[in-house]
Every structure is written in structure tokens, then in C-alpha cells.
């Protein structure tokens, strides 16, 4: 199978703290691999190594077969869409300008950038005639996150990174966006690496789930098999699903 991203024995240390410890896995074309884990398990650290926001202390991360340290960081990052929990929209840019950012940096024609931004806004459920000219502060959290997704898709990158993108949203909005994510995934057939601490989200969205525990890969399997995973950490996460017994 075709590895879009490949982690090869990757470790990351700050001082004497080990955040990632010998992590190895591959992300295949077209799949959504969800990295699941508690806070501090190293999942975000791993994600940030893919677009060279962080560099491994030892080991290698390969994107399209090339180690991230050998990529021109600017080229690498424009080749990868990135969505984060805090969205990070530019408050002084309109929604359309936020969405069109990467195409503009890539030197697209003005009219092409505008068209692309409008098309994407429509696709994430924000009618452009209503939202294109607004500023981020005029939108709700869920709407802002939709803009964040549209921005990541703008230059049509083959690979997308999601860092707990729906973590700050209320459960109803979250479910709405998760459903939209699945629709978009069918439409665009992108490869995605998705970080979350929500086991439900991992089961709904992932084609595979990689469970991280203390910087190591605890379990890597399909959602169906994850439900029967036997490691203590996997069991701890699965226990979160059994609310019925608690009430």
C-alpha cells in the first residue's frame, strides 16, 4: 500500500521529558487515521511533526517518501491542510480572505481565489453571499470551525491534519460537523490524520484508530476491532462509551 506519511521510530524529548517514544506507523492514501489519546499522550506532538512545526529528536517522519527535514518547509506546509481547535482564523481578514489564504500565497489569480473561496464556503454549509464579507468575530464557534475546514481545503492539498478541530464545540454542533466531515471525505477522497481525545469521534470518523499512551502506540486497528481491543488503555477509553451503566 501507498504510504503518504510514515513515522519511523520517532522520538521527541524536551529536556528529560519524553513526549514520543519510538513511534512507528504509516498513513495510507485515502484513509482517515485517528490518533486517539489522553492529554499529554503525544498525539498533537506527533501531528505537528508531519508539517514540520516540530522536528523529531530521533527517528524520521516521511511525507510522500521524503523526510520532513529534507522538504522546503513552506512547500511542505502548503501541500498539507491544517485545522486546529482554536481555528486560528485571521481576525483582520474577511471570511473569504481567510479561506483564500493559501491560494493567494500560491499566487492564484484574484478571481480564481474568490471563486474557490465561494465554492468551498458553500460546500461547508456557509452560503458565500451571506458569509464571504463577514469577519471571524461575527461568526459562532461552529461556523468558524467550518471556515477553518474550508481554509484547509482551499489549495486542494492531498493530505489534511486535524488537531481536535471539534473539541471546543457543543455536542450538538460537534455531531453536525462530524457528519459534514464524513460527507466531505466522500466528496474529496483526501488522506487525513485526525487527533482527538474523544473515543466516539474516533469510532465515527476513523478508518483506523491509533491509540497513543505515554508517547507510545498502544493499539492500531480498525474501529470495529478497536471495540474489542484488550489493552488497559483501550479498555479505559471504551469504558467512556458505557454511560448507561453509570446512570
Amino acid at each position: 500500500m501507498n504510504a503518504i506519511v510514515s513515522f519511523q521510530n520517532v522520538s521527541y524529548r524536551i529536556g528529560n521529558r519524553t513526549l514520543l517514544d519510538g513511534l512507528s506507523f504509516e498513513l495510507h492514501a485515502g484513509e482517515t487515521l485517528v490518533l486517539l489519546g489522553r492529554s499529554g499522550s503525544g498525539k498533537t506532538t506527533a501531528l505537528k511533526m508531519v508539517n514540520d512545526l516540530l522536528r523529531p529528536t530521533s527517528g524520521k517522519v516521511l511525507v510522500d517518501g521524503i523526510p520532513t527535514i529534507d522538504w522546503d518547509p513552506i512547500r511542505l506546509r502548503r501541500h498539507i491542510g491544517y485545522v486546529i481547535q482554536d481555528v486560528g482564523l485571521f481576525p483582520h481578514f474577511t471570511i473569504a480572505d481567510n479561506v483564500g489564504l493559501v491560494p493567494r500565497l500560491e499566487g492564484w489569480e484574484r478571481s480564481a481565489v474568490r471563486e474557490r473561496a465561494s465554492a468551498l464556503l458553500a460546500q461547508v454549509g456557509l452560503p458565500p453571499e451571506q458569509y464571504a464579507g463577514r469577519y471571524p468575530r461575527e461568526l459562532s464557534g461552529g461556523q468558524r470551525q467550518r471556515v477553518g475546514v474550508a481554509r484547509a481545503l482551499a489549495a486542494d492539498p492531498p493530505l489534511l491534519l486535524f488537531d481536535e478541530p471539534f473539541g471546543a464545540l457543543d455536542p450538538v454542533t460537534r455531531l453536525e460537523l462530524q457528519r459534514q466531515f464524513l460527507v466531505l471525505r466522500r466528496q474529496f477522497s483526501k488522506t487525513a490524520l485526525f487527533v482527538t481525545h474523544d473515543v466516539r469521534e474516533a469510532l465515527i470518523l476513523g478508518s483506523r484508530i491509533g491509540l497513543l499512551h505515554n508517547g507510545r502506540l498502544d493499539t492500531l486497528t480498525t474501529p470495529a476491532d478497536f471495540l474489542h481491543a484488550a489493552t488497559p488503555e483501550a479498555r479505559a477509553f471504551l469504558a467512556c462509551l458505557d454511560v448507561k451503566n453509570e446512570v
Binding site: N51, Y82, I84
Partner: protein
């Protein structure tokens, strides 16, 4: 009386010139230096310390200290301007640093992750978002400089301070007011004008 009006106008223009030149230099050095300090955290302590010390030196003394220094010192406008610049740099520098460091980390991270290079990050994200804070620093520095510039007359720098020193020497309140009132008026106008520009930036 007409002679006095004429002199008020001349000295006001001279005063404005002193402030303008000093602020041009202090603005470029302060903003440029502030940007540099955001990239070189280890320099911050030294540079801010120096700028702070400059501000603590009593202004009359600072003008005096500069007189005996060869090339940059001496009697006249350039020494006065140098002293004004040394005073005005700190607020501009400090606000530039604070404004840029105050940009939401999520915004900066997403700018980098979208593939902006250093220059694009600075011009398209950091400076626009810090503009209001930077302008506030420029405003404070300008208003202070307008007042401090009256002391320039003590070392032959000219400006409205000429009236004040002459009035003090001859115990003539009218002369002191002839210097003080226009200086105060300029300060108020500058404060209002720059405040308006600042407000314009905050609207965006």
C-alpha cells in the same frame, strides 16, 4: 506685538520640525528594533534595560551630557534631536514588542502552518494585528517629545523653549506663556490626531 506673533510662528515651526525629525528617527528605530527583539529574545533584557535607563535620566541633564560628546554632541539642533530620540524610543519599542508578542498564538501557528514565510507572517499578520498597540506607543512618545522639546532651547536647539527660557531669565510670564501655550496646543492636537488614527485601525 506683531513681532512677537511672528516669532511665535517661527519658533512653533521650529519646534514642530524638531519633534517631527526626532519622531521619524525614534519611530523607525523603535518599530524596527521592536520587531528585531521579537526574533531575538535573548537581546530583550539588554535593549529594554538601556532604553529604560535613558528614560530615567532627567531630561535637562541628558541634554547637558550630550554637549561634550564629540561628533554626535555639541551645541545645536542635532544634539537636541538625539536627546529627544533617546527619550522617545522606549515607548515605541516596548509597544511594538508587546503588540507583536500579543498576537494570538493560534493565529500565528496557523499562519506558519499555512505556509507563510517570515516576511508574510510579519507584514500580513503580526504588524496589522499589532498596529493599534504600536500606534499607541507612537502617540505617547510624540506627546512626551513635544513637551521635552522645549528643553532643547537650553542647548541651542531652538523651538518654543526659547520663549520659556527667556521668560524665566527675565521673570516675564507673558513670554513663558508664549512658549507654553503653543506647545500645549500642539501636544493636544497631536494626541487627538494620533488617537483618531489609532481608532481607525481598531475598527478594522
Amino acid at each position: 506685538m506683531e513681532g512677537l506673533a511672528r516669532e511665535i510662528l517661527d519658533l512653533t515651526l521650529e519646534h514642530l520640525w524638531l519633534v517631527f525629525v526626532a519622531m521619524m528617527i525614534a519611530g523607525s528605530v523603535g518599530i524596527g528594533g521592536g520587531i528585531l527583539l521579537t526574533r531575538k529574545p535573548s537581546w530583550r533584557g539588554w535593549v529594554l534595560g538601556f532604553a529604560n535607563v535613558m528614560q530615567t535620566v532627567p531630561s535637562l541633564a541628558l541634554f547637558g551630557f550630550l554637549i561634550p560628546i564629540p561628533f554626535i554632541g555639541g551645541i545645536g539642533k542635532h544634539t537636541a534631536i538625539l536627546a529627544l530620540v533617546l527619550y522617545a524610543i522606549l515607548p515605541v519599542l516596548r509597544n511594538t514588542l508587546a503588540g507583536i508578542l500579543g498576537v494570538d498564538p493560534a493565529v500565528r501557528e496557523s499562519a506558519v502552518a499555512m505556509g507563510m514565510n517570515g516576511r508574510q507572517l510579519l507584514w500580513q499578520v503580526e504588524l496589522p494585528l499589532a498596529a493599534r498597540t504600536i500606534l499607541a506607543g507612537v502617540r505617547v512618545a510624540t506627546v512626551t517629545t513635544i513637551g521635552t522639546a522645549t528643553i532643547a532651547a537650553a542647548i541651542g536647539g531652538g523651538g518654543l523653549g526659547v520663549f520659556i527660557f527667556r521668560g524665566l531669565a527675565s521673570v516675564d510670564t507673558t513670554l513663558i506663556l508664549a512658549g507654553a501655550i503653543p506647545a500645549a496646543a500642539i501636544a493636544l492636537l497631536a494626541d487627538g490626531g494620533l488617537g483618531w488614527v489609532e481608532h481607525k485601525f481598531s475598527a478594522a
